[in-house]
Symmetry: C2
Subunit: 445 residues, 2 copies
């Protein structure tokens, strides 16, 4: 059995390793276009924050380790054409040689790439993105070799916000800008105000709703030109979002969604019965709506890689789907979400009721208390919990996992409100903020 | 409608306040034998740690506030006899006057009292317990007026362990002793070793398995006499455990369990249709086994108080039960549990499989990583998750809530292992320690 994997990061290497563990005599080949495999991409902002660390510290397992485990790991190999009818993949190596490989089962794990707007100047030197290790190295080198003291970040998503903290650590002045209004438009105003206050407290200047027209070179650096203003800096980070890398799949005739993610079933199979897709390039089922979504996150990539390996090696595995749980840190703030927002709930046909509460991170009178804000959403018709968003300084990141589990088990808000959650004064009020929100939402519904 | 509540802490005051909110014209009388109501008993160790704070800081709502809300709150009123056939409660006030009250509905919320072994010397001055605010004041006064520099804590439960930290904050040398072997016998050895190491690192001396015979007065203080040794100190804290205060209920002919907790149904009704019981004096259903348990914890007391109020004021409310979720902090360690231990699982008729794993609190290569140990237990026959115990330095307390929710919804280990939990490098590895445990346990089962 020949199992070929295109892409050597989270989903790809998880699948390759597990397939080999499951079935030691399977032939596993991985084609990776860069020289880097199996690294923690999410760790890059924290690594960039620290000039004394190398990006290679983020490598989880080396090329040699994978090869020692019997995986034929070919770096510098870019897959360019899949021929499903012949079960062949062909492409070019970094030095320009052609290669061609046959497979019995193929996994496309090509990830996603930073979205670059079709505007002038985004290709200028000093306009950087952050997706793979090489991007991280470029940013770090650019900062040191140009002694960067000022940067503009385009975009205000989680990577943009994580990069704020990283750049402030490097004593770089940061201005954030984006064309559309709203710092985090999916978030309730009360919560997003906490985020915006934290940014301001850390001297980040925020310009949302300023249409970006171009980036231009100046004498000392770069200029982001908006419809109504210009922003000068030495470096620009474009962190608008990412787009699934699905060109290969599309050219091979596989089903691809309008958002460009590759359509897969619960076994991660694409529209071809010998080709799987997993990770940031593929879609997934949302456990709340039962509908397809595309959420590029690390855990589901790893999990999907494992599921592909199990399916390829003969133990049929289905993944129910994702709740859309995500968390990020921004200076002292923790921002977390799981499930649907109010507008997502409406779009999915629910009749959402919601509450926003603020509570404390620790018990009444316990020193060190900070504020936690919780936005909780339920469905009036079924009583089901639909989603939770949270902002706070401590205990927010891990608190989101409880409602995430509740979403997987389709609990009602009332059932969730009756759960026996942990209490001790250093960690929460007797009624955890999550329960306070659930109690109030349950009453409202 | 006359609603009388015996006991003015968590369950009692929650019930009184909510009944009044639900139905403003209800007559609510609370009989509290001490002068303190509505305080955070769990906060006492942290308050004792800080000489500049008053125990009264732990009061959540004052007597006056309750009275202003229309509750007839009678402090210094000790209920002594309940006559169910007459629907009467009688007792004595602190100054010795008799009182007698009729009720339509009665709530017994008498809490629990520290267990005092029937051994000589436990009544000596300087042998102290910690349950109510007055106990806290006594400990604090004793420490300052005697300039206490050494203490023996008898018992090794959560209060004993929290008191270790409190006393070390006050620069008091602490020795812990108990008659039975095992620091935390319900805990897996690997996890309890982490606890014992943390205690040792903080210069706490642990003597488990030394049969305690008596406490004796010495020239300078007290001596705890064991079968094989003697321990000298200025102060002894007896923190062996607590016993439900059910004498009143028993004398009134209500059903009381062998462990002395008052038997209640899911609506919190005792064996008398006009008498409820809630809080540390009452039992509850365990959501995993469906059987009765007695777990004296603050959240379930508050929740049960609310449920009683709802039932008394006409909206029938049932509580499914508790998962037995508990957490405590001990120096830098967080110790958490939910559900059953292996031996509890066996006793309940399950066929338990379990794994103990250690993982990291943050992502691979993220600075500040610490170890988290997870002990997870599942049922071989049904595949169900049965319990989780955890020890770690960060993110342990809140992590326990996810499996607690899974226990409420009777998830299998496999289902739990597929939950979409949060990941970001500062907060967890891609595979959260909880998921790593679930993955391994699922494979084993």
């Amino acid at each position: 059995m020949k199992f070929v994997v295109i892409g050597g990061d989270a989903a790809g290497m998880s699948a390759a390793s597990r397939a080999k563990r499951n079935q030691p005599d399977i032939e596993v080949t991985v084609l990776e276009q860069t020289e880097d495999v199996s690294y923690s991409a999410c760790g890059m902002p924290y690594n960039i924050a620290n000039p004394s660390r190398e990006l290679d510290d983020l490598v989880v397992r080396s090329v040699k380790e994978f090869r020692d485990n019997g995986i034929d790991l070919k770096t510098g190999h870019r897959a360019e054409i899949i021929e499903p009818s012949l079960k062949m993949v062909s492409g070019k190596t970094a030095i320009g040689d052609s290669f061609k490989l046959s497979y019995d089962k193929l996994l496309i794990a090509t990830g996603a790439s930073p979205t670059i707007p079709k505007l002038p100047g985004f290709d200028l030197p000093g306009v950087l993105t952050l997706k793979n290790l090489e991007d991280g190295r470029k940013i770090k080198n650019f900062i040191s070799s140009n002694n960067v003291k000022s940067a503009v970040i385009i975009g205000m998503g989680s990577i943009a916000l994580e990069m704020c903290e990283a750049l402030r650590e490097r004593k770089i002045d940061v201005v954030m800008v984006k064309s559309r209004p709203g710092l985090l438009p999916w978030m309730n105003e009360k919560l997003s105000e906490m985020v915006s206050e934290e940014l301001k407290a850390n001297k980040i200047v925020i310009y949302d709703g300023h249409e970006i027209l171009s980036i231009q070179k100046t004498k000392d650096g770069l200029k982001v030109v908006c419809a109504d203003m210009e922003l000068d800096s030495q470096m620009v980070i474009a962190a608008i979002g990412v787009t699934p890398n699905s060109e290969l799949a599309k050219s091979a005739g596989l089903a691809v969604n309008p958002d460009r993610s590759i359509a897969v079933d619960k076994t991660l199979l694409t529209s071809d019965q010998n080709i799987y897709a997993a990770g940031d390039c593929a879609d997934a089922y949302n456990v709340i709506t039962g509908k397809k979504v595309w959420v590029p996150l690390a855990l589901r990539a790893n999990r999907a890689g494992w599921a592909v390996a199990d399916n390829v090696t003969g133990s049929k595995t289905e993944l129910e789907g994702i709740a859309g749980t995500a968390v990020f840190k921004m200076f002292d703030l923790q921002v977390a979400r799981t499930g649907l927002t109010v507008s997502e709930a409406k779009a999915a046909g629910f009749d959402p009721a919601d509450v926003v509460i603020t509570s404390r991170s620790r018990a009444h009178s316990h020193p060190g208390n900070t504020t936690i804000a919780v936005h909780m959403i339920g469905d009036r018709r079924s009583g089901r919990l639909l989603g939770v968003q949270m902002v706070g300084k401590e205990g927010t990141a891990h608190r989101i996992d409880a409602p995430a589990v509740a979403l997987h088990s389709k609990m009602t808000v009332k059932e969730f409100s009756e759960c026996d959650l942990a209490y001790a004064p250093p960690f929460s009020p007797v009624w955890d903020p999550m329960l306070t929100a659930a109690n109030q939402l349950s009453k409202k519904m």
